[in-house]
Amino acid sequence: MVSKLSRPQLASLLALFAGMVVLAVLPAYIDPYSLRIVTGVLMWAGLACAWNIVGGYAGYISFGHSAFFGIGAYVTGILMQRDLGIPFLATLPLGILVAVGVAAAIGGPTMRLRGAYFAIATWAFAEMLMQMAIVLDITGGTAGLSLPAYLNEFFFYYTMLIVALGVYLGTWYLLERTRFGYRLKALRDHEPAAEAMGIHTTRVKVQAFALSAGITSLFGSIYAYWVTFIDPRSVMGPEITDQMVVMVLLGGLGTVWGPALGATVLWLINRYIWSELGDTAIYLPILGLIIALIVLFLPNGLISLLPGGRRGHGLLGRLLRKL
């Protein structure tokens, strides 16, 4: 509806196009190991974007996004078992549907309250779901679940690429161009005023949460097929959520492209530590340190350091006050 693109929007579109070309031809030029790392960057960029929709735009901190990642992974994992034999693509919408339903059920009652209730509810739900995955038979318990192997790194690279791009473009369009985006930004900036404009803020927040959950589940599904083996810890562990949160804060909360930046930097650090030390035990303390540094020195994230990056807008402070 808004007719013209502003200059920063045009610039980011051009940058996006250049990036797309590079990403499209990349597999021809790098080794398989590096390709896996870039595939991981794409996935985490998409996940961070999903978390940002509810954390950065609706202004509600979810500590339970690992649950949605796990829902996608397990729905795909379970449905692709030999006795069911449902094709991979057909499992994706089912995972999304379950995640959206669950998000609506959690968000409906909690998102009319202050953010702390939501944060605790999502955290508790994720814990509960992980425990369920541990004790149930259908999930394979702690022994995990193997999926039919499809060992084609190119397939997963391009799948992640297309989905991540779709997620970013879709998010950008939705947030910058539609009524939904205006409703979301209005309630983020001033909830009573948004209500005074007739915006049903609770409904919009729940929609944002459901959308975010659906995207997260989609990546969970692809991830499960990619790594061919899942267990409760690896697809529902709290570290998954932690990483999404830190990526968003590092890149720039409540910005369209910040999460991609944060995800790239952080996932490269993660992989570097892994390749140097053989495990990532030191990674969690590093995440903690990064959070502390951001809160103290860079509340608007890395993206605020770029030319044309938005001036300080104090979203982090507002988010924390909302708790």
Binding site: M1, V2, S3, S6, R179, Y182, R183, K185, A186, R188, D189, H190, P192, A193, A194, E195, A196, M197, G198, I199, H200, T201, G254, R310, R311, H313, L315
Partner: protein, 247 residues
């Protein structure tokens, strides 16, 4: 005045309040307010600080739940409805403390006010409102970058985007430059001519004299006087309310 009114009673005036009460702990901020505002009327609400004016607005607009009383908006009872429903029923309001959408542009603030209304026509309308309020030159700035007076104008601009039946203005011109006051007055006049009904909280007596058809005076949560500007100016209760408590 409305004692004995049953739930079937139809109220045709744009805004009818009946026995509104609100307590905050031990404080009774609004203590039984009745009011009927006629079509296209501008009613001023004056009274000393803390007399319950803003709280009254919060009750009408559904921002706070009331303890007692009923509210009718353009013939429909809206008592107990949530704020967004009341807004969609035709109410618009501004806030005493500017409550803009700080991280989006001035123009986007106006567009955001139209999301539940005429979305297709919103860009054109936003252009008109920007012009009317003489803030076109800052349309692409962030709302938080506006001066205090411009913020007040934008608050009112968002109201103009919505075509409401009833408009509540909470100190729309408090502390602004005379130039901005003039722009605001002219805009209010235009919106009124288009058929809106106003309830306005004002401390500025000049402003009250210029725009209000009728005035109610609040003190300690109650309406202690009502009448025309001249009647109010001579009223003993009013003088007591202002002189006895405020200073």
């Amino acid at each position: 005045m409305y004692a004995g009114a049953d739930s079937q009673t139809v109220r045709h005036s744009p805004l009818v309040l009946e026995g509104l009460v609100k307590h905050f702990g031990g404080v009774t901020a609004v203590a039984g307010v009745d009011l009927e505002v006629e079509s296209c009327e501008v009613v001023g609400v004056i009274g000393p600080n803390g007399s319950g004016k803003s709280t009254l607005f919060n009750l009408i607009s559904g921002m706070l739940p009331m303890d007692e009383g009923r509210v009718w908006l353009v013939g429909k009872e809206v008592t107990g409805r949530s704020a967004w429903r009341i807004a969609r029923a035709g109410l618009a309001r501004t806030f005493q403390i500017p409550s803009l959408f700080d991280n989006i542009s001035v123009r986007d603030n106006l567009l955001a006010a139209a999301v539940e209304g005429d979305w297709k026509g919103a860009p054109r309308r936003a252009g008109e409102v920007l012009e009317m309020l003489e803030i076109s030159h800052v349309a692409d700035n962030l709302a938080s970058e506006l001066s205090g007076g411009q913020q007040k104008l934008l608050e009112f601009g968002r109201v103009c985007m919505r075509d409401p039946s009833v408009i509540l203005l909470d100190e729309a011109t408090a502390g602004v430059h005379p130039n901005i006051r003039r722009i605001m007055l002219e805009a209010i006049r235009r919106v009124r001519e288009a058929g809106a009904t106003f309830l306005v909280i004002e401390h500025d007596m000049e402003m009250v004299r210029e725009i209000c058809d009728r005035i109610i005076v609040m003190d300690a949560g109650q309406v202690v006087a009502k009448g025309s500007f001249d009647e109010i100016a001579d009223n003993v209760e009013v003088q007591r309310a202002y002189l006895g408590r405020q200073r």
